[in-house]
């Protein structure tokens, strides 16, 4: 079990989905039970990972590696290789937890076509876990794309009134980004071949060769490649100009779909930045203007997302736009390129999964009772649903970053990490921090204002007088999220310890390559040399690695 | 990329490309005539609510393209 723990975690939901195929679709209760059991099983089998991972948290490299390169499609050099480090470990735990929570929350929300719903949901779960586990770039890409299909169906079949539009928009947007990434992957693949003579998609191999692109092909080519990845991830995150699919998808998706979308899917974008963009293209980030514009986009996302949230009349749309703002903090922390900022960013991703996941559940519960999400329809809800109002208050506070709750730790670490950086793309760290801080204030504004309009005062709408409070099942969905929120808020040290090794390693990788400008200059001189034009690029760079390494 | 420059070869190659450029216009005569015929036919189809005029247009276009092609060649080979 120890050696195959990742495969077991990965395929438990899929086994559930296949099992569900054989249950007659009229038998809704059985389907619900089986789906919930397998979702819980997915969480339970991931729990042994916690002590096992904890024991080796400071050791370098990927842990629990399974499979060898080339074992899947030897003729092109793709393999079924899984492995995790601290960053993916936290995201995997978040995924299994939220997967269970959201499947549990769908018990009464989904009434028609129950069987397909749970099948697609469990398939989606496997797809997302695969993205975080894959150590082979090709495998990663397959999971990355395949996961779009169940999400598309979840939005399109069980969504709101504009579900067709939202589903297609979601699919097309994310696909448009990822096909360009495919071209980028293929380029890295050939470059890896020309350097080492081996065709391979193995991530560890690409970590060695990809940073060379800057010196082998020049800054322009490297920047274009960086952008081909950047678009894929930025659309997924979503960063500011690419975010337009998000409100549509969130508003139309069923509640559980929104939870997973916000909680896990968006993290795939930031995970992509951390796992691929930073270690592959360190020189693009440390030289040139790319980093400056990424930072600017992050700031715009923070402010713009918060401002648009303020204006919303629909609760779900408000939460959706708040995601844009929160994810802006995450990208800010990533591209600050300091250990503190990066670990804060990962932690904030977990926090956002917990808080925003909970916020979508909160909106979903009201929607299930009243079938409207208009803020003006509500008022004084705390009088009728006190437990609900309390949980909501805690989650709102966590989302806006109040001390003692998880959001504070994440945001504070990001801002601190950014602040302490002396130079980020030509500007001191405090310059960027100053722009980001209003986002925190605005978050408090839109969330508290929302709370005041919905929960405080007297019940103005007679339809709200008879609403019943949370059922035990609904409380159960919130309990793990509340525990996590308090745990991270009060004692985040274990999380930082888990993140310490991978984050330090990452920052060291990025800065090591930047610190040797003479290597870049040498390579540039070699490129311009007399024999450079006559010899094909491939054979020129085959000779390079030996010189470079020794 | 293209094979290494060889002085004798490159002169030949240049003449070749020059000629190629002259004849490359021929490459477009044929499809263009066809497409024009097709578009005219399709427009007529839409206007007259028929379904076969585009076909006549294409055939006419092909014939016209052919005639033009042969005429050009005959003129050049004289």
């Amino acid at each position: 079990m120890y050696n195959h723990i990742l495969s077991i975690i990965l395929f438990t939901p899929l086994v559930g989905a296949i099992l569900l195929l054989f249950v007659p679709k009229e038998n809704k209760e059985a389907i619900r039970w089986i789906a919930n059991i397998f979702a819980l099983a997915g969480l339970l089998v991931s729990l042994p990972l916690v002590p096992w991972f904890w024991a080796q948290r400071f050791e370098p490299g990927f842990k629990f590696v399974e499979g060898t390169a080339n074992n899947w499609i030897p003729s092109i050099g793709a393999g079924y290789v899984l492995g995790i480090d601290g960053i993916s470990f936290l995201l995997i735990m978040l995924t299994t937890l939220l997967g269970w929570v959201s499947i549990l929350s769908s018990w009464t929300a989904i009434e028609n076509r129950v069987k397909e719903y749970y099948i697609w949901f469990l398939v989606l779960q496997t797809g997302m876990l695969g993205v975080f586990m894959a150590l082979d770039f090709f495998l990663f890409f397959v999971f990355w794309e395949a996961m779009l299909v169940p999400m598309y169906l979840l939005i399109g079949i069980w969504g709101g009134p504009r579900k067709l539009y939202a589903a297609i928009k979601f699919f097309l947007y994310t696909l448009a980004g990822s096909v360009l990434m495919l071209l980028g992957i293929l380029f890295l693949y050939f470059h890896h071949h020309s350097v080492t003579g081996v065709y391979s998609f193995s991530l560890t191999g690409l970590y060695d060769t990809a940073p060379r692109i800057y010196s082998d092909y020049g800054p322009y080519a490297a920047t274009l490649l960086f952008l081909s990845f950047f678009f894929a991830f930025a659309i997924k995150v979503p960063m500011f100009p690419f975010h337009t699919w998000l409100p549509d998808a969130h508003v139309e998706a069923p509640t559980a779909g929104s939870v997973i979308l916000a909680g896990v899917l968006l993290k795939m974008g930031t995970y992509g930045f951390i796992r691929f963009s930073l270690p592959f293209f360190p020189d693009v980030l440390t030289h040139g203007r790319v980093r400056f514009w990424v930072m600017v986009l992050s700031i715009i996302a923070i402010i713009y997302g918060a401002l648009v949230s303020l204006m919303q009349k629909d609760m779900k749309k408000l939460v959706a736009y708040s995601s844009v703002s929160h994810l802006g903090f995450c990208t800010l922390g990533i591209f600050a390129l300091s250990p503190l900022g990066l670990s804060g960013s990962v932690l904030q991703q977990i926090n956002h999964g917990i808080s925003t996941g909970a916020l979508f559940l909160i909106v979903g519960i009201l929607y299930e009772r009243r079938h409207t999400r208009e803020i003006s329809e509500y008022g004084g809800i705390s009088n009728v649903m006190p437990v609900y109002a309390t949980i909501t208050m805690i989650m709102f506070l966590s989302s806006m970053g109040l001390p003692l709750l998880n959001g504070f730790v994440g945001e504070f670490t990001i801002l601190g990490g950014t602040f302490l950086q002396k130079d980020i793309a030509g500007h001191p760290g405090y310059f960027w921090t100053a722009w980001a801080v209003p986002g925190v204030v605005l978050a408090a504004a839109y969330l508290l204002w929302l709370y005041q309009r919905v929960f405080f005062g007297t019940v103005t709408n007679p339809k709200n007088e008879k609403l019943h409070d949370l059922t035990p099942r609904e409380v159960a969905t919130f309990v793990p999220l509340l525990i996590m929120a308090f745990w991270i808020g009060l004692y985040p040290k274990p999380f930082f310890q888990i993140l310490e090794q991978p984050v330090n390693h990452l920052v060291a990788t990025v800065n090591r390559d930047a610190s040797t400008p003479e290597a870049v200059a040498n390579a540039a001189a070699k490129r311009a040399g007399p024999d450079a034009a006559a010899v094909p690029a491939s054979s020129a760079s085959i000779a390079q690695p030996e010189k470079g390494k020794n | 990329m293209s094979p290494g420059p060889d002085p004798k070869n490159s002169k030949q190659e240049k003449a070749f490309w020059l000629q190629f450029a002259r004849y490359s216009q021929l490459a477009f005569v044929f499809p263009t005539a066809l497409v024009v015929g097709w578009l005219v036919g399709a427009a007529l189809d839409r206007w007259l609510h028929t379904t076969w005029l585009y076909l006549a247009g294409i055939l006419l276009g092909i014939a016209a393209g052919f005639i033009e092609l042969i005429r050009t060649v005959l003129r050049d080979t004289k």
């Binding site: 899947w72 499609i73 030897p74 003729s75 092109i76 890409f141 397959v142 794309e145 395949a146 779009l148 299909v149 598309y152 169906l153 399109g156 079949i157 579900k163 589903a167 297609i168 699919f171 097309l172 696909l175 448009a176 096909v179 360009l180 495919l182 071209l183 293929l186 380029f187 693949y189 050939f190 | 990329m1 293209s2 094979p3 030949q12 003449a15 070749f16 000629q19 190629f20 004849y23 490359s24 021929l26 490459a27 044929f30 499809p31 066809l34 497409v35 097709w38 379904t51 076969w52 585009y54 076909l55 294409i58 055939l59 092909i62 052919f66 092609l69 042969i70 060649v73 050049d76 080979t77």
Partner: protein, 514 residues
């Protein structure tokens, strides 16, 4: 190729798969006369047996000489019939591909013909004859044989398109197809005749040598350009590349749905085999000339077809435009490489593409065919509405086929695109690669339109379940399984294509498909 040898047993053995198909076609015509009306399905069985025999004849254990020839000498094949035919790995690969596509198409036809009340033996006979023609096209080493094969295939297909005699749409489609097909064959023959005049031979190898020496002369003969242009126009007509595509949507829409499926895979694959045979074996020295033409045509094809497909409301027409768009992607595989040399990954990509396309497109047409029952024709997009509630298995399979056509991993269709774009990136055609992938996103939109109709719209015509014959179930099972299996475990198939191009590394796989 050596001196002309008189016909020997080897010649006939090499041509056996073709001969067998023709014999079975004639046999079906005879047996059909004796069958009572309610047992016409036996014709389909005979046709399947014929396909099986032909496939077995390709894998012929009594040809040890050829076996060593093929395994030892890479791309080279065995010439037969006085050098008019060449049985090499390329030809064998395509032969199997045609037979696989035909077998599935036969399975799809049985019930459809019963419903249409057109269950005649000629249908299957014509199908087999057209496959015999395709085999000649793939194995032709002489432009005369290639042209005869082409005409045998084309004429059989004209009749098959118009096979629903009482249906006006079918007749009209056949007539249009015939007119344009005949014209394009004429242009093609014109070009071939010029090459004969220039080279003094109809043999592709002699033509290649002669063209090569003609290309070296500084006064390049305009005739050479004209010959190339007309030949290539004819070829592009046959694979329906824009701007030579006009026959395709009409013919696809009007033909019996199972024949549409057959045309979109087997006939198209044959067109590709012929195109590659002529451009790579015969006119390869002229690559600098045909390369720009292909670039232009490929961009035009991807653009035109993808835009035209967006507005279609008829599923068959939509798939017709989608199949034109796929031609555009495949053409990119021939473009990959430099002006002087073609890149092998692109060629691999085309073969893989044709393989996966055979299964996924036939599957899609299979689902549409299964919708035809009683008074519902079932080829409008709206007929698919709520298909999931009526026929869940078919709907899910159709979703798989659509996503595969759109190129979403891990489905088979992804691998075709993968190798095409791989070759483009490898040879530095970044702009074309970017254009190609963006158009494939574009393509996803109209495939999703079908998925939307099936899963997310309500059925208008009741919740009645569709009766599906066992033959159709088998056909859908095969295509669905192949689409998934090739997608998830592509290694064997990649090795297979490597073998076809003579670059196999794994002898076990090569032996398997030999």
């Amino acid at each position: 190729m050596g001196p002309l040898a008189p016909f020997s047993t080897t010649d006939y053995l090499l041509a056996l798969p073709i001969t067998l198909l023709a014999l079975f076609a004639l046999g079906i015509l005879l047996i059909d006369l004796m069958l009572p009306k309610e047992q016409k399905w036996a014709n389909a069985v005979t046709a399947l047996i014929g396909v099986g025999f032909s496939a077995a004849a390709i894998w012929n254990p009594f040809r040890p000489g050829i076996l060593t020839y093929l395994t030892v000498s890479g791309l080279a094949g065995h010439a037969a019939m006085m050098n008019t035919m060449i049985v090499d790995r390329f030809a064998i690969y395509f032969w199997y591909l045609f037979l696989a596509g035909t077998a599935v198409a036969i399975l799809m036809s049985v019930r459809y013909l019963e419903i249409e009340n057109e269950d005649h033996g000629e249908y299957y006979a014509l199908m087999l004859l057209s496959v015999a023609g395709m085999m000649c096209m793939a194995a032709g080493y002489d432009i005369v044989l290639i042209f005869i094969g082409l005409e045998l295939m084309a004429i059989s297909t004209y009749v098959l398109v118009g096979f629903l005699r009482r249906d006006r749409r079918s007749n009209e489609a056949a007539l249009k197809y015939l007119l344009l097909g005949a014209f394009s064959s004429g242009i093609f023959a014109y070009g071939l005749s010029l090459f004969y005049g220039l080279a003094g031979s109809t043999n592709l190898r002699v033509i290649a040598v002669q063209v090569n020496s003609l290309m070296q002369k500084s006064d390049m003969k305009p005739l050479l350009v004209i010959a190339l242009l007309t030949t290539i126009t004819g070829l592009l007509f046959k694979i329906a590349a824009i701007p030579f595509h006009q026959w395709a949507p009409d013919a696809y829409e009007g033909a019996p749905t199972c024949i549409t499926g057959f045309m979109s895979v087997a006939v198209k694959a044959a067109g590709w085999a012929m195109l590659m045979r002529i451009l790579l074996w015969g006119l390869y020295p002229m690559r600098p000339l045909w390369l720009p033409v292909l670039v232009f045509v490929s961009i035009a094809t991807m653009t035109g077809a993808n835009f035209a497909a967006l507005t279609q409301t008829n599923t068959k027409r939509l798939l017709a435009y989608s199949s034109i768009a796929h031609v555009g992607y495949m053409l990119l595989g021939l473009i990959a490489g430099t002006a002087a040399e073609i890149h092998f990954d692109g060629l691999k990509g085309i073969l893989i593409y044709l393989l996966v396309y055979t299964f996924m497109n036939l599957g899609a047409f299979g689902v549409i065919t299964s919708l035809r029952h009683r008074n519902i024709i079932g080829d409008e997009l709206d007929d698919l509405n709520g298909l999931y509630s009526r026929a869940p298995v078919e709907a899910v399979l159709m979703l798989v086929f659509m996503l595969s056509l759109a190129g979403i991993p891990p489905l088979a269709g992804f691998w075709g695109k993968y190798f095409i774009f791989l070759s483009l990136i490898e040879t530095g055609h970044y702009a074309l690669a970017a254009l190609g992938v963006l158009y494939s996103v574009f393509g996803l939109y109209y495939y999703l339109k079908i998925a939307n109709a099936m899963f997310m719209r309500e059925a208008e015509k009741g919740e009645e379940r569709l009766p599906v014959s066992y033959a159709m179930r088998t056909a859908l099972g095969i295509t669905g399984f192949a689409t998934l299996f090739i997608g998830i475990m592509p290694n064997t198939f990649i090795e297979m294509v490597n073998w076809a191009w003579g670059i196999a590394k794994n002898p076990a796989v090569a032996k398997l498909i030999r």
